[in-house]
Symmetry: C2
Subunit: 254 residues, 2 copies
C-alpha cells in the first residue's frame, strides 16, 4: 500500500483491484473532516437556540466532540502527506445548496434535517471507507460510528410524534424532501471529486469478485471498474435502504 | 469548611473571617461556568465567520476547550451539592445588555470585544476565587488561566494595527467603551448575586488584616466586612489597572 502523498494526475490510477493511492484516501478524509466541521457549526447553532439549558449543555458537548473527531481525521491527513486546510477547503461549498433548500422552520424540522443528512452522509463515507488502507478505515469507521446525536434526535422526535399525528405526517413529508436533497449532494460530491467515485467503485468491484469467487470456481476476469464519476449501481439503493430503516426508527414512513 | 449545599437565606452568612459557605462558592462556579458557556457560543460564532480556514480551525478548537472547562467547573458544582442547570440559569441574562450595547461592526472590533470582556471577567473571577476552598480555587485559577484566545487576539490586532494608525485610534476608543460596559456588568453581577460581593469583600478583608499584621504588632480589631452588594473599594481600581496593562500589550492607550 502506497502511503506517499503525491500531487499526481488523478487519471493515472492503478487498476481497481490495487490498494488505493493515498491521494484518494486523503480526499475522503477531507470530506469526513469537512462534514465534522459542518456538524460542529450546526450543533453549536443548535446549542445556542435549544429550548432548555439541559439541551444547550448536551448539544454543545456534541459540538466539541465533532471538533475532536475532525482534528483526528485531519491528523491522519497530515500522516498521509496531505494539507488539512486545502483538504477542507475543497469541500467548502458542498452543502451550500442543501442548506439553502432545506431551511427548517421548527425545532423538529431542524432535528430531523440533521438526522437524515448525517445518516446519508455517514453511510456514504462508510461505504467509501471500505476501500482505503486499514489505519484510515479504522479511524473513519470509529469517527462515523458516533450515534449520540442520532439517539438524541430519535428520543426527542419520538416523544414529540407520540402526541401529535399531524406533526408525524408533516415530518414524514419533510424527511422525503430531505433525503432527495441529501442524495443529490452525494451525486454532486462524486462528480466534483472523482476520487470518491473511485473508492466506491473499487469497493463494489471487490464485493463483486468476492461474490463471483464464492459462486463460480473461476471467474473469467475481474469486473471492470466503472468510469470515474459515474454513480455506482448499488450505491443509491443502499443509501435509500438505510434511510428507510432510519425513518422507521422514528415511526415515519420514508 | 462546610461543603454541604444549602438553599438557605443569603443573609444568614457567617462573619467574613470564616471560610465561605459552599453556597457562595457554587454561585461563583456558576458564574465561571456561564462565562465559559458564553465563550463557547461566541467562539463558535467567531469560527463560523472567521475569514480563513486556519482561523476557523483554531477558533473551533477554542470553542471546544471552553465546553471542556465549563464542564469541569460544573462537575465541581455537583461535588459541592449544587445543581448545574440552576447555577447556569441564574446568569442567563447577565450579558444581554452588554451584548446589545457592544455590537462589533468589524472583525477587529469583535476580537477586541472578547479580549476586553474576557480580561475583565476573568480578573474579577480570579479575585473572587481567592476566597473559596482550596480545591475550587485551584480549579478556577486553572480554568481562568487560559490565554490562548487572548494571545490569538493580541497577535492579530498587533499585526493589523502596525499598518493602520486610524484603526489603532478607533480601537483605542472602542476599548474604552468596552471596559466601561464590562465594569458595569461586574457591578450588576454583584448586586444581583450578593454571594459574589461577599467573596470579594472577604478577600479584601483578609488582605487588609494580613497587611496590618505585617505593619503593626497588634491591630485593634479585624476590619469589618463591607455591606453585601456594595462595590468593594479596591476592586474596580484593580480591574481597571489590569485592563490598562492588557491594552498596552496591544499598543493601545486605555
Amino acid at each position: 500500500m502506497t502511503e506517499v502523498a503525491h500531487d499526481a494526475q488523478p487519471q493515472a490510477q492503478p487498476p481497481a483491484q490495487h490498494a488505493p493511492e493515498a491521494a484518494d484516501t486523503v480526499e475522503l478524509l477531507g470530506l469526513v473532516a469537512h462534514l465534522q466541521h459542518v456538524a460542529f457549526n450546526r450543533l453549536a447553532e443548535d446549542a445556542r437556540v435549544a429550548p432548555s439549558t439541559a439541551q444547550q449543555l448536551e448539544l454543545s458537548r456534541l459540538a466539541a466532540a465533532a471538533v475532536d473527531r475532525r482534528d483526528r481525521v485531519l491528523a491522519r491527513v497530515v500522516e498521509l502527506g496531505g494539507e488539512p486546510e486545502r483538504c477542507l477547503g475543497a469541500y467548502a461549498r458542498l452543502l451550500e445548496d442543501f442548506d439553502s433548500r432545506t431551511q427548517p422552520s421548527t425545532w423538529w424540522e431542524r432535528l430531523l434535517r440533521s438526522y437524515v443528512a448525517d445518516g446519508v452522509s455517514d453511510d456514504f463515507c462508510r461505504i467509501a471507507a471500505s476501500a482505503v488502507d486499514d489505519r484510515s478505515r479504522a479511524l473513519l469507521l470509529e469517527v462515523l460510528d458516533d450515534a449520540e446525536h442520532a439517539n438524541l434526535a430519535v428520543g426527542e422526535l419520538e416523544a414529540a410524534g407520540a402526541q401529535d399525528e399531524v406533526l408525524v405526517s408533516r415530518l414524514a413529508l419533510w424527511g422525503r424532501r430531505l433525503v432527495g436533497e441529501a442524495l443529490g449532494v452525494v451525486q454532486q460530491a462524486m462528480s466534483a471529486h472523482p476520487a470518491l467515485g473511485r473508492l466506491v467503485t473499487r469497493r463494489e468491484a471487490e464485493a463483486r469478485s468476492a461474490e463471483e469467487a464464492a459462486a463460480a470456481p473461476a471467474p473469467e476476469a475481474p469486473a471492470a471498474p466503472e468510469a470515474d464519476g459515474a454513480a455506482p449501481a448499488k450505491l443509491f439503493g443502499e443509501l435509500t435502504a438505510e434511510h428507510t430503516r432510519r425513518m422507521s426508527r422514528l415511526g415515519l414512513t420514508a
